[in-house]
Amino acid sequence: MQNRRPGARTRIAMASACALALCGALAQMVAPVAAHAAEPPLKANVIHWWTSGGESAAIRQFAEAYDKAGGQWVDNAVAGADQARATAINRIVGGDPPTAAQFNTSKQFHDLIDQGLLNNVDTVATKENWAAIFPQSILDSIRVNGHYYATPVDIHMQGWFFYSKPLFQKAGIANEPQNFDEFVADLDKLKKTGVIPLALGGQPWQEKITFDAIFADVGGQDLYLKVYRDRDVNAVKSDAFKKVLASFKKLHDYVDPGSPGRNWNDATALVISGKAGVQIMGDWAKGEFSAAKQSAGKDFGCFPGFGPHSPYLVAGDVFVFPKTDNPNAIKAQNLLATIMTSPTAQVAFSARKGSIPIRPDVDTSQLDMCAKEGIAIMKDKSRQLPNPEMLISPDVQGALTDVITNFWNKNQSVDDAQKAFAGALKG
């Protein structure tokens, strides 16, 4: 091609290019100033499974508090706990991690830690002095190798006994039962008055919760820890454990035939409407009572177990923070961790969720009678018992749930159930 002087068109093009470059340079000089003046909110993509009325009202407290502190909460609710966790894990693996994802205070997220897929929140933990504030069982769950990998947001007790006060009165039950035999006697009295003594939703997880409550109360803390924490098969094969299984199965006589497949809140509805006497359920059931305008101590009563030293099964939810190098995302994660554990947000959340706050230094006047009792019990470290999910992996928990639901629903002998439980525990 011949060498030609640049034609008119070429010259205009070059001039435009220079102008654009100049503008770009100017813009870059101006940008930091402008950005500083209006910082974009810290976007946080949060996966959770709190989709029922009470639960979503609770998490909205966190969302509003976070937004007020300069963040932007992008809600990613997924129906169903298993689904939500699977979604979170798949997205983390898939390279599109959320800013935060909900898990239970358990071993569910420990595989993620092992693979190096989570950010730690040590900065927030040290600043807020978590080691001094949180209960030991929670700390054990969120602290791995000295680093804090999860933010706890609530403490739930999954084995409360809720009962209808009018029905208890009608049946002539004056006091709350102090041991298992008294409890069975009370159930008999309820049966005589024609109501359903024990409202149970026949789903595997509910049957497991009922079993764990009986296990902790009848079997005692030592046996419980030997089985769940130490995975001691001999403890399972002992007579004491046999007694636990037998006591558990005895409750089957007091459940109505409509129980299989029933949702937990439908079972609570039975107690609320006076059709059933007692439900063994976690403290999240209080949301149903308050939605029906019933108040603790007047319309319904609650006790955490038999006797003044009954174990208090500690469970809860945490948020984990998938690994990211994006500085804005890290800032968002730290802000989330700070907001979610702050005293005001904790109280607002707990009041709607039915849980108790994870920190003792909060104003508990808004909370109901059962929650206040729970907080008082939590001060006694000797009564705290980690729930099974904190001690065993999800698939062992699943296998044990299968054993329990089998034992509950079929005519299996206690010996066979014992063997099956031992086999599943070995894993």
Binding site: T51, G53, A77, A79, V93, G94, D96, W264, N265
Partner: protein, 327 residues
Amino acid sequence: MSTLDPAEGAASLPQGRRLAEAAAATAGAAAATTARPRRPRPRRPRFSPARIGIYAFLMICALFFLLPLYVMLVTSVKPMDEIRLGNLLAWPVHLTLHPWVDAWQAACTGLDCNGIQVGFWNSVRIVVPSTVLSIAVGAVNGYALSFWRPRGAGWLFGVLLVGAFIPYQVMIYPMVRVLASVHLFSSLPGIVVIHTIFGMPVMTLLFRNYYAGIPLELFKAARIDGGGFWRIFFQLMLPMSLPIIVVAMILQVTNIWNDYLLGLVFAGTKNLPMTVQLNNIINTTTGERLYNVNMAATILTSLVPLAVYFISGRWFVRGIASGAVKG
């Protein structure tokens, strides 16, 4: 299969001579299944106990088949108090279309209470590109396998067919990781790719069988005229493929719309298809179950494939049969 030889069966009958001849003659023609035109119907038999029995059986079966549709429709227009009364089959006393409105725009899946319309549009966004892509790929594959038959392609095709029988669970987790590594997991392109992959065996089979019925002379003439691979495909084969494309479309639209498992795993929370949304609405609510809204949502979810079925009618059957006849 030799024990089922019709000619033998006919010969075993005492007076079966003529029958045996006819059976032998028919056995050859019997293999030609779906494309056969209907034979003429000269007269209708008179009413006899046998006819009455036939009609009675068919009526009873029809009632069984229609029962769920009736229950769905009737439940979806009743208010909740009537449903609580507990008579599934009762005609509604107070007809209300409110459940339909609720199902479409107000039912809650998770925290979003925007109804199942979200799922509807997601399903549309999934079905359209998946159908187009899987038919395109299937047509090209069938064309290449049928006319060009490169060496070794036959074996490849055989393995592909076997793959159609593999349970999804074997392939799900690795596909999750593969898609994740190309950043397609939990996205619309990802689920489209997945549906294309899983639809490839049946689509390829359909088109291959169809092209097998096109005379080779046509193809050869086109080659002689100087046509290359793609030119012959676009200018000759594709225009001739309209019938089978219709069948393929019917099959794919129905299958992909009704899919649950793949959409659940691969589509991501923003693109959940209608079937997944439906299950979320119905099986994961706490509080009282609104059966009328649930039934309305179920009907809404089934509307598209049912419409395809009712409109396409005979093509639907032809599609299933020809896609299903695996030699």
